[in-house]
């Protein structure tokens, strides 16, 4: 009998040897005379267990991990016995997965990403069917009712954005998927594109149907070659199937970024798609009125778009019933950095930061105490343990001078030097600034130099005052959130970790 073995092809699994494991399974099975069939899947998102393979048994799939190529012989000769030291049991029973509510990630890690039959067998395609039965206006209405807010960072209601485009008359409209995912600590867009690409295609096709757009672009950052490859193949397969193309009335083109963080900002992204420098446009006009090539454009993050098929398939109410306050539904939270159990954790809004980091994440990877957590990428604030009671919710984070952004959570242990982290925030802004506004372009470099002085212990008080002032100027004098939000990590580091900005006194105390 042939044993079916699932091996992830997600970049994070490949990065720790999944391809070698797959190759070893094939060659060792041959040598041992065992019949195996290898199926490559996305990742389940338990990255400390990758490469995590799953073996099909009469009792369902059984997981083993982390598997190295050298473990393969042993696994095969033991017939994947439950007594094996890498045996993890049924993946659904692993606490990290069991505690999740997977809506966006329902199929990721389970199916062969490029099998449309597998996609449909696991519920794919029901969203667009329901959209067609509701009609365009009814679809927009349903998305609005779900309470879905943009997952790219700003949290703008997706239904309202769609309605604006639907109500704007034009000979051509576009759907643009923002897959630039530049925030450190985030990988949810990447995982979906590598693990369930047809879901994104379905989400974009629904958007096109709802607003009357016939063409879509997916702008994927060049740092994601695997995602680009998978999405390109998926588009070809979808065209062959009729899910895309003339019959469907919707086409998708995959475009590759070129290593500019600011191109994640929606207007900069549109410039880039038009073949220009990625400079931010002043608003108005809104992209919904005058977007790509001057035409009405829906621009949405990957996660916003992949939520839509589920909202339609199972109804807006089902989705809106989850969450807290004005944050409805689930959020695929990405636990990253110095964390024991890092990975993709999709849950309804409302869990506290402490639960996520300590209970789900298991604290630090190094085993040392957690000291700081940066939420929301390079423009997000650093939170101390004292704020661990903050629930994961747009408004709750804003009330504490933070943001959830694209839901990346980066954990640091007590060896972190927060003055250096503040300096890096300024440096990153200086490297990635599009150059349009002086506070962002020049202010970030000044900020970096000034923090360097603080780190050297030069005129600490005066220089801290300069940095605080600079942050005010950047906040209010920047066109976009790159310059405007860089003050978040800087000021939160100064506010919550003042001791790191006061070296001479520390040195004196130590003597």
């Amino acid at each position: 009998m042939t044993t079916k073995i699932f091996v992830p092809c997600d970049a994070a699994a490949r990065a720790v040897g999944a391809d070698k494991v797959a190759a070893a399974l094939v060659s060792e099975a041959k040598r041992l005379g065992r019949a195996v069939e290898i199926v490559r899947t996305g990742s389940r998102g338990l990255f400390w267990l990758e490469p995590m393979i799953e073996v099909q048994t009469p009792a369902g799939r059984i997981a083993f991990g982390p598997v190295k190529a050298k473990d393969v012989t042993d696994l095969l000769t033991s017939d994947f016995s439950a007594g094996h030291r890498l045996h993890l049991g049924r993946p659904e029973e692993l606490p990290f997965l069991k505690r999740q509510t997977r809506i966006n990630f329902a199929r990721c890690g389970i199916i062969d990403p490029l099998s449309l039959a597998g996609y449909r067998a696991h519920g794919g395609g029901r969203g667009i069917e329901r959209a067609r039965s509701l009609g365009a206006a009814g679809t927009v209405e349903e998305v609005t009712k779900s309470g879905l807010r943009g997952r790219g960072g700003a949290g703008f209601p997706t239904g309202i954005k769609w309605k604006t485009v639907a109500d704007t008359a034009a000979d051509q409209k576009y759907i643009v998927c923002n897959a630039d995912e530049g925030d450190s600590g985030t990988f949810a867009d990447r995982m979906i594109m590598e693990g369930d690409p047809f879901l994104l295609i379905e989400g974009m096709a629904i958007a096109g149907f709802a607003v009357g757009a016939t063409k879509g672009y997916v702008y994927i950052r060049s740092e994601y070659p695997d995602a680009i490859r998978t999405m390109e193949r998926a588009v070809v397969l979808a065209e062959a199937d009729g899910m895309l193309g003339p019959e469907a009335g919707f086409d998708i083109e995959i475009r590759e970024g070129a290593g500019a963080y600011v191109c994640g900002e929606e207007t900069s992204l549109l410039e880039s798609l038009e073949g220009k420098r990625g400079q931010v446009r002043a608003k108005p006009p809104l992209p919904a009125h005058k977007g790509l090539f001057g035409k009405p454009t829906v621009i949405n993050n990957v996660l916003s778009l992949v939520t839509v098929p589920a909202v339609l398939a199972d109804g807006a109410k089902h989705y809106a019933d989850l969450g807290m306050g004005r944050s409805r539904g689930t959020m695929p939270i990405q636990l990253a950095g110095n964390i024991k159990h890092g990975g993709l954790f999709e849950a309804p809004f409302g869990m506290t930061l402490g639960e996520l980091v300590d209970d789900i994440g298991g604290g630090t990877h190094s085993g040392r105490p957690v000291r700081a957590v940066q939420v929301g990428g390079p423009l997000g604030a650093y939170f101390p343990r004292g704020l661990f009671d903050t629930p994961f919710d747009y408004e709750a984070f804003a009330a504490r001078d933070g943001l959830i952004g694209h839901a990346g959570v980066v954990v640091f242990d007590d060896t972190v030097d927060m003055a250096r982290q503040a300096r890096f925030a300024m440096e990153f802004c200086a490297i990635e600034s599009c150059g349009k506004c002086t506070p962002c372009r020049i202010g970030s470099t000044r900020g970096m130099e000034t923090i360097d002085k603080i780190i050297r212990g030069e005129r600490t008080e005066a220089n801290l005052a300069i940095v605080t002032d600079l942050c005010q100027t950047m906040k209010f004098g920047s066109l976009c959130a790159l310059g405007g939000f860089t003050p978040y990590p800087v000021l939160s580091a100064i506010k919550h970790f003042p001791e790191d900005f006061n070296r001479p006194r520390l040195a004196a105390a130590a003597e």
Binding site: A12, G185, A336, G337, N338
Partner: protein
């Protein structure tokens, strides 16, 4: 080795993209895949075909971190310097790699076999520190990885 500048090949690439709207980035990616960089003589050719000025094309090439004006080494190692990798001592690891090959950020070894560049997040942030070697992802980097990199680049 990337082939030397060849206008006919560049024209082939341009033809492949004709009719595509806003195609400058895809064109530049393909030119760089062919020649290892965007060579200076490519600029007027592209500008002419797309009805742009040379300054406009040059402006785009220089705006994006990905485009090179000179070819890189035979192998390209991109080490992640963003926050999640910092939290796992990525900077110390990066320093070790740079020292091992006696390079600074952006530098190429004198024999042209390796270029090391910074990159800001590869989406491997739950398996930090991470890197990309010739387009292949690497994560949970440690001392063994350093030897592996050295073996790969020969």
């Amino acid at each position: 080795m990337s082939p030397a500048w060849d206008e006919a090949r560049a024209q082939d690439i341009l033809r492949r993209h004709s009719g595509r709207k806003g195609a400058l980035l895809p064109i530049l990616h393909d030119i760089q895949a062919e020649f290892g960089c965007v060579p200076a003589p490519a600029i007027p050719v592209i500008a002419h075909t797309l009805n742009l000025t040379r300054a406009e094309v040059h402006g785009v090439v220089s705006f994006y971190h990905d485009f090179r004006e000179k070819p890189a080494g035979r192998h390209v190692l991109k080490l992640c310097r963003a926050e999640a990798c910092q939290s796992m001592n990525g900077e110390a690891f990066a320093q070790q790699v740079l020292e091992r090959f006696d390079l600074d950020w952006g530098g190429t070894t004198p024999d042209g076999r390796l270029t090391i560049e910074p990159i800001y997040c590869l989406g491997l942030c739950a398996s930090s520190p991470s890197a990309m070697l010739d387009g292949q992802p690497m994560a949970r980097l440690d001392q063994d990885s350093l030897d592996e990199i050295a073996r790969e680049v020969g």
